[in-house]
């Protein structure tokens, strides 16, 4: 594996066979199905996939945020020796914000509209540390400065609606950093932001990792973001990880046809322009009713005699031990398929218009 030197250190978070299902009117929705990964200090792990593939549920389950009377959990997630999935509310409450902090997708809706942002940060600090009001407030202002909020002292007294989207996301980051967490989970942190702000936020993530050696789980559907910052990548599809490895493994030697499709659907300025952006035909399956065997089977043009059996997530490429995938196709055959023009290698482009919204519309 080509992970940074920290790969020798023991992981601070070990997730094993995590499964989450919800009882709904449509039946049992298996949102997450047997997800396993390790996270080491200073590592940036990107979890990618289409909407509804279970990546956000995986992230939120680590902090117990998906707990509800109709949710069922299986598997384990061990943070520095503490089991998170079965943890008591009191245990989780201590870990939340202090050990593992989360940054949510929509900065517009994720801050309390009727509380001053300084107070929202102070609240979190005081939940974990016995700090007098003035000290906690000073710390909140420092945090706001650190994430690049100008005139932080005055702005701490403002309400969320007085901030732009990018500034609110910085506030969310300041909030997440307020207790120096060891693990930061960012769920689509830049989706609602325009491209320049997005680049600034990602830069902050990298700097923070370098400053604090915190580990970051970056949940996103944006492969451009992944290529920018990630050390390791897990590709999810229909509740399962279908490919997992270092950034180089997954981006330069992708093994799963779904990954090919995702990579083929990126706009590239170094390739001749097409009339249509390549897309993956069809839709992801309903999580209440997933196809038998390989979940991608109905959308995949490649066939193998075992496609009706569920492929295990194992290393298949000789010499790439940490590079796992869930596709029956032999690595040699995959290599031949990938020799073809990108866009035709994976899931064949269909004559449908791209559904991905332009990111700078925000």
């Amino acid at each position: 594996m080509s992970t940074p030197p920290s790969s020798l250190a023991p992981p601070i978070l070990e997730v094993r066979d995590l499964a989450v299902s919800f009882a709904t009117d449509q039946g049992i929705v298996q949102a997450v199905d047997g997800v396993s990964f390790d996270l080491r200090a200073g590592e940036i792990l990107a979890v990618v996939g289409e909407s509804g593939c279970g990546k956000s549920v995986t992230a939120m389950t680590l902090l117990g945020l998906t707990r509800s009377p109709n949710a069922r959990f299986a598997g384990t997630a061990t943070y520095k020796g503490t089991e998170l999935i079965g943890a008591s509310d009191a245990q989780l409450q201590r870990i939340r914000g202090e050990e593992i902090a989360m940054i949510f997708q929509d900065p517009m809706a994720s801050l309390n509209p009727v509380m001053r942002i300084g107070d929202q940060i102070v609240e979190q600090i005081q939940a974990h540390e016995d700090l007098p009001d003035e000290r906690a407030h000073e710390r909140a202002v420092e945090l706001l400065q650190r994430v690049g909020i100008p005139r932080a002292k005055q702005r701490a007294g403002s309400y969320p609606h007085e901030f732009s989207g990018g500034m609110r996301q910085r506030v969310m980051i300041a909030l997440a950093l307020s207790c120096d967490p060891s693990v930061l989970i960012a769920d689509e942190p830049t989706t609602a932001l325009d491209v320049t702000v997005q680049a600034q936020i990602l830069q902050r993530f990298r700097e923070l990792r370098d400053e604090t050696n915190a580990a970051l789980i970056l949940v996103t559907h944006d492969l451009g973001v992944v290529a920018d910052v990630a050390d390791n990548v897990a590709v999810m599809y229909a509740g399962r990880i279908v490919e997992q490895g270092t950034l180089d493994d997954v981006f330069y030697d992708p093994q799963h046809p779904y990954t090919w499709g995702l990579l083929g659907a990126i706009t590239r300025i170094d390739r001749p322009r097409r009339t249509r952006l390549p897309t993956i035909p069809g839709l992801p399956p309903s999580l209440a009713n997933r196809p038998q065997g390989c979940h991608l089977r109905p959308r995949c043009p490649h066939e193998h005699e075992h496609c009706l059996q569920s492929p295990p997530l194992v290393a298949r490429v000789p010499g790439e031990d940490g590079h796992l995938d869930r596709c029956w196709l032999e690595p040699e055959r995959k290599r031949r398929l990938r020799e073809l023009e990108p866009g035709e290698i994976g899931l064949r482009p269909k004559d449908v218009s791209p559904t991905k919204p332009t990111r700078d519309a925000a």
């Binding site: 949510f104 994720s110 509209p113």
Partner: protein
């Protein structure tokens, strides 16, 4: 803020003008509305009628009559047709009684509605919630004249636990004041507790699924703090609207049934009795008095809004 209040005061003048004109007109056009006949007593002579018309000014054009009446209301010299009593004095006498009823009941119904709303929202879908939902429905379905009558009969008359009727000013004896008002407060509150707790429960459940509540939980603060600081605060706004309107209506004499059942002799009861006698001057005065409080409370509600939600600007 100052401009906002000034504009509201101006609007209040307009509302009071419109309401007084409408009320005055209604009582002038309804059949059997000629006050001269009622003032004259049984089988009056045409001369007496003419005499009365002249003294009371009923022979003047309607707009002139309206202006005269308004002048008297604000000058404090308006008298009722039926008893020849000063209307403003009668209202002033009723105000402490009505205000006592409104404030006490308001505190009680808000307190229990918030408590019950929180309780049922936290236990949404469980048996405690279902039981309380059923109770709230029962509460909503009990009219004041019925529950009030039951209370005065069983608790007041039969058991002798509480005094039936009567009013003791708070300045004279606060304990007796509250003791005499417990039954009216309870009767008036029951309906409001039912309605308010249901509305609040719905708001709380909506707010609980907001993203910022998830953020609050991810911060590692206690569930209690999440509920009170993040959920409740954001759920109170619709309740504040309701409260402003209902409280204003009760202060303005709207709790007619409660006042009547417990013989509180407040503004509402005075209005009800005046209406029964088609006694225009008190009805007009009480209507304007009520409208004044409703507009006033609405203005207060808007100010409270801005305090509760910084996104709302007073403009």
């Amino acid at each position: 803020m100052a401009r906002f209040v000034a504009r509201r005061l101006l609007a209040m003048v307009a509302v009071l003008f419109a309401i007084s004109v409408i009320t005055f007109t209604i009582f002038n056009v309804i059949p059997n509305g000629d006050p001269a006949y009622r003032l004259a007593g049984k089988s009056p002579t045409p001369d007496t009628i003419r005499q009365i018309r002249h003294t009371w000014g009923f022979d003047k054009p309607v707009p002139v009559q309206y202006l005269k009446t308004m002048e008297k209301i604000f000058g404090g010299s308006l008298v009722s047709y039926s008893q020849n009593l000063n209307v403003d004095d009668q209202i002033v006498q009723g105000i402490p009684r009505t205000l006592s009823l409104a404030i006490g009941a308001g505190v009680i119904w808000m307190f229990f509605a918030i408590a019950l709303g929180l309780f049922t929202a936290v236990r949404a879908g469980r048996s405690a919630d279902r039981l309380m939902t059923a109770l709230a429905m029962v509460g909503v379905s009990m009219p004041v004249f019925w529950i009030g009558a039951l209370m005065t009969y069983y608790l007041g008359f039969k058991a002798g636990l509480f005094p039936n009727g009567g009013y003791v000013p708070i300045t004279k004896n606060p304990i007796q004041w509250a003791y005499h008002l417990i039954m009216p407060w309870t009767a008036l509150s029951i309906l409001f507790i039912g309605v308010y707790s249901r509305v609040l429960r719905g708001n709380l459940l909506d707010t609980m699924s907001e993203d910022y509540v998830r953020t609050a939980r991810a911060k590692g603060i206690s569930e209690r703090r999440i509920l009170l600081r993040h959920v409740l605060r954001n759920s109170l706004i619709p309740i504040v609207t309701l409260f402003g309107l209902d409280f204003g209506a009760v202060v303005g004499g709207g709790a007619i049934l409660t006042e009547k059942v417990f013989d509180l002799q407040g503004v509402g009861q005075y209005a009800a009795e005046s209406i029964a006698q088609l006694d225009v001057p008190p009805v007009l005065a009480v209507t304007m008095f009520g409208a004044f409080f409703i507009v006033l409370l609405n203005t207060v509600v808007d100010i409270v809004y801005a305090a509760l939600d910084p996104r709302i600007r007073l403009s």
